[in-house]
């Protein structure tokens, strides 16, 4: 049995108070100073802990409040109210929702899986990854007890080409050449975020985190200088700038953008360093699927397909979601009988731990993440930086060590969530998740099988 993979988390507090879902409004005017709220009502000692924070220029009470409404109901003069915090509601977008951002901050701080009481309070289903449920095992297919360490669940994946079969000569000697691959202990690559002030400190935090947990950070070649000298944690992505071939051969993996002559580019790189794994980067668009098939047929090792920031086809108003793209690409590769030979990486819109597994179940071997790395460093996904506005959390001033630990914490929490879902499915190998669509329930299928059978055609989706 391989050594057990474990990501060490250490609590690393926020630099800025986290924006909370709701706010307490307490009117000073008319207050009896009876201290009912302080002494009797608040179980969490919120009124005792509150201070004035110069960072947010305000009260920190909302950071501690847990929404029990005791003070609201207990104030004799009824001066306390709770409201949804408008600042919280405006966080992020429809994929990086306020809930997702808050949960990511918390995981980056503690490294723990979000656990809560009471049932799920969200929507029944939703677009993209929210329209699928993962399966669980019951009675006859044993689940796996991974999370508490009672059984080993492996999250290892390999990047590289796999021969379809082994060939031997008449003496039984293996004829296949050894094919290079890069092994990652968890199915997550770090990718350069599409926005954000990536200062040398931020770059260093990301690269150190990648190297600590044993994965890689994809970095555009021209920005390599921001990431220090971490050949073990970094994968250069060629971006048209002049390349120092000698230096490039320090890396065990390199990524190249798709171009018509990409196979020639790969060939010349391979000539310099035959055991280097070369990944091709291209958009996760349905129109690209024939190219993917060609690449796979022609010997490409790793194909990295990128959706837009929301997880949909880039630059297509009615584009399909990454999950549908992956299902189609996976199915076509299966039809050609070459799915096992090539590694498919999916990126764009992977916002939560559950998206990692769902993308894999739809057909990816592993995923890449980008914006969550920034959120771990307290990014609020306001995108002010895109227009050169000020960053509310002064991203560029992150202390690299603490920043790296927060990213490590986030991955520790995600890793444990992967174990939870895999354990429930009874799957002990992340490699077996790839395209395992029999263990997924898709919203459209369930609707058709149940309500479709009862009520006919669905009018709105």
């Amino acid at each position: 049995m391989p050594r057990k993979y474990h990501i060490e988390a250490h609590e690393t507090p926020h630099r800025f108070p986290a924006i909370g879902r709701s706010g307490i409004i307490d009117w000073g005017e008319g207050c009896l100073k009876c201290a009912q709220c302080v002494k009797y009502e608040c179980v969490y000692g919120v009124y005792g802990k509150r201070t004035f924070s110069a960072d947010i220029f305000g009260d920190t009470i909302d950071e501690y409040c847990k929404d029990c409404f005791r003070c609201v109901q207990g104030c004799p003069k009824r001066l306390i109210h709770k409201t949804i915090n408008p600042e919280w509601e405006q966080l992020g977008d429809d994929i990086y929702t306020p809930t997702v951002i808050s949960a990511t901050w918390e995981q980056a701080k503690t490294g723990k899986i979000p656990v809560s009481g009471s049932g799920y309070g969200g929507m029944f289903s939703g677009p993209g990854f929210d329209s699928m449920w993962t399966d669980m095992s019951e009675i006859v297919r044993p689940t796996r007890d991974g999370i508490h360490g009672r059984e080993y669940i492996s999250t290892v994946v390999d990047l590289g080409r796999r021969p379809a079969r082994l060939r031997f000569d008449t003496h039984g000697k293996l004829l296949n050449e050894t094919i290079p691959f890069v092994r990652l202990p968890l199915p997550i690559l770090f990718d350069m975020p599409p926005f954000g002030r990536i200062s040398p400190a931020v770059g260093r935090a990301m690269a150190v985190a990648a190297s600590k947990i044993g994965t890689r950070m994809l970095v555009p070649y021209s920005k390599m200088n921001l990431f220090g000298d971490y050949p073990s944690g970094v994968v250069p992505v060629l971006d048209g700038s002049d390349v120092d071939g000698q230096w490039l051969s320090l890396f065990d993996m390199v990524q190249v953008p798709y171009s018509d002559d990409v196979m020639d580019v790969i060939g010349s790189l391979k000539q310099r360093k035959p055991d280097q794994v070369i990944a091709v980067r291209l958009p996760a668009a349905r129109a690209e699927i024939p190219l993917i098939l060609d690449l796979a047929r022609n010997g490409a090792e790793v194909i990295h397909c990128l959706a837009d920031q929301r997880g949909f086809e880039p630059d297509a108003p009615d584009g399909v979601h990454l999950k549908d793209f992956l299902r189609e690409a996976h199915a076509k590769l299966m039809e050609l009988g070459i799915r096992d030979e090539v590694t498919l990486v999916a990126g764009g819109g992977i916002a939560m731990a559950e998206h990692v597994i769902k993308a894999m179940l739809c057909g990816a071997n592993l995923v890449s993440i980008d914006i969550p790395l920034l959120i771990a460093l307290e990014c609020r996904v306001c995108r002010n930086c895109v227009e050169n506005g000020p960053c509310p959390v002064r991203m560029s001033e992150v202390e690299p060590g603490r920043g790296a630990q927060r990213i490590v914490n986030l991955m520790a929490a995600w890793h444990n969530q992967l174990l939870e879902i895999m354990g429930a499915m009874g799957i002990r190998e992340a490699r077996r998740l790839r395209g395992e669509q029999g263990r997924v329930m898709f919203f459209e299928n369930l609707e058709a099988e149940t309500f479709g059978r009862l009520f006919g055609n669905r009018k709105s989706w």
Partner: protein, 511 residues
């Protein structure tokens, strides 16, 4: 006065007022009385809802959670217009917006509180039937006929009972008068007062409650006939003696909120009392394993059931499973293994503590699982020999009726009772001292926030309202028994498939 031991007595199932434990209830509207008030108490006289009350000739702070809102207050014969000193103003309660979530909206929480306090349905201002999750029960509607088809039907005589033993065996026959019983909530995840409130309320209605996997506290002994004891993977507190006490034993193979994962009880809540009942160590977190390591096949499953049947020769066996893709096969397998009750717990069910990732993503919602299992049991020709029970997101009487129309015989509830006890769904049940509202906690001080009689009464009141609503639904369809509603999907419509179904709540004017 004769000594009454409420700790061991089954109370009557009668409605009685049970006002909020806190200084003010929470409702949609806020009534503010300014300093101009001169205690003339005219408002007390004009408000039929009891918002204004006086004590010792003085007006006490208004019970504004009973208020019917701005429109009512401005009527010529109501409070605002009749206050001689213009001291009353009525507006929306700003805190109501921060309350609730998509499944348990502020309206659902507040209407459940209203029912639990008064034993009556809220008037026109609250949506008490569905939430806002945008799917499943929240998109299903009943296709009520314009007029109730049977004039000979007496609504008070409509039968809402179901049978828990439909097998032709010689085990105990149990008919419960409501098509629902209380789901497993363990001692430790909830307080003893909460546990007993539920047990007593369900006992009052002649139904049952499940212990959950936390063992069988002695305080439940007087209610043995109304208790289901649970055998779950942790086997906490499972003894021959407890299995023999009861009429129904439930195997928990999985729980909808965390299918495929074992139970969690974090160390803070494991007090010495909890540890004693569970036969564990105080202060150390309890994680039940998953799965039952003694069950890896249907044959093992059968052995399990035979084990219980041998220890208790009268008891019924319920098998609680979650909703994987092959839930229909699991249900049929359980029938052949000898189960009386197949209990499906859908993925949006409640829990004392579960990873958020599991609550949201693992296994299918109950709305899909019920028709799937119902159809398969019919196909196999065994539908009439099992009792199919659904849970996991049953919040209201309408959810109960919809689950039954989709194919279940009855349902199991849990969160609804906690909401009746003034749960606000803040999701903090598992942290530190546990529930700040004294419901899901074992903290000495917080437990004291609730009193047993009050808790029992609140749940009795809610169940009363639910029974009335079920009868009303059946009456509007001309059905004389809830058993005739099972599988009547023809009485349902789904708004995503047919947008033209009117929202005809008879309490409110049509849309």
């Amino acid at each position: 006065m004769a000594y009454k031991n409420i700790w061991s007595e089954v109370p009557p199932a009668a409605v009685a007022n049970a006002v909020s434990r806190f200084k003010r209830g929470m409702g949609k509207y806020a009534v503010v009385i300014s300093d101009a008030c001169n205690d003339c108490l005219k408002c007390v006289a004009v408000c039929p809802e009891g918002v204004f009350r006086a004590r010792g000739g003085k007006l006490v702070p208004p019970f504004d959670h009973l208020c019917l809102g701005v429109q009512c207050s401005r009527k010529s014969d109501r409070c605002v217009r009749n206050c001689p000193v213009h001291a009353i103003s009525v507006g929306l309660n700003p805190s109501a917006e921060a309350l609730g979530d998509k499944r348990w909206t502020a309206d659902l929480l507040m209407s459940t509180w209203y029912m639990s306090e008064t034993g009556k349905l809220p008037k026109h201002d609250l949506e008490y039937r569905v939430g806002a999750s945008g799917g499943g029960f929240d998109k299903l509607r009943f296709l009520f006929p314009k007029r109730p088809p049977r004039s000979d039907l007496d609504p008070d005589q409509i039968d809402t009972s179901i049978s828990l033993n439909r097998r032709a065996d010689r085990r105990v026959k149990i008919d419960i008068p409501l098509p629902l019983y209380g789901g497993g909530m363990s001692f430790g995840s909830i307080s003893q007062i909460t546990m007993l409130s539920r047990v007593r309320a369900f006992a009052a209605w002649g139904s049952l409650t499940c212990t959950g996997e936390g063992g069988y506290p002695e305080s439940l002994y007087p209610f043995d006939d109304h208790v289901i004891t649970q055998v779950a993977t942790g086997l906490f507190g499972v003894k021959e003696e407890t299995v023999q006490r009861v009429k129904v034993v439930e195997f928990k193979y999985a729980q909808g909120a965390k299918p495929g994962l074992g139970g969690h009880l974090l160390g803070d809540k494991v007090t010495p009392a909890v540890a004693r009942i569970r036969e564990t160590v105080a202060g150390s977190s309890l994680f039940s394993p998953f799965p039952f390591h003694s069950v890896y096949s249907v044959e093992d499953h059968r052995k399990h059931i035979d084990w219980i049947k041998t220890i208790n020769p009268m008891a019924l066996v319920s098998v609680k499973v979650s909703t994987p893709t092959d839930v229909d096969m699991v249900a049929v397998g359980s029938y052949h293994a000898g189960a009386h009750i197949i209990h499906l717990d859908g993925s949006y069910g409640g829990t004392g503590a579960a990873p958020d990732v599991a609550k949201k993503n693992i296994a299918m919602p109950i709305e899909y699982a019920i028709p799937k299992v119902h159809a398969f049991l019919l196909e196999e020709g065994i539908r009439n020999e099992v009792t199919l029970i659904a849970s996991g997101g049953i919040r209201t009487a309408y959810d109960v009726a919809k689950a039954i129309a989709l194919g279940a015989d009855g349902v199991v509830t849990g969160t609804s009772e906690l909401v009746a006890l003034e749960c606000v769904r803040c999701h903090n049940c598992e942290r530190g001292r546990g529930c700040a509202r004294g419901i899901a906690t074992t903290d000495q001080e917080l437990v004291g926030l609730m009193d047993l009689e009050w808790g029992t009464q609140r749940i009795i009141n809610m169940l009363h309202c639910w029974r009335d609503q079920l009868r009303e639904i059946l009456y509007r369809f001309g059905l004389d028994s809830i058993r005739r509603l099972v599988g009547r999907t023809d009485l349902l419509a789904h708004l995503d498939y047919n947008a033209n179904v009117p929202d005809d709540d008879i309490r409110r004017p049509p849309e």
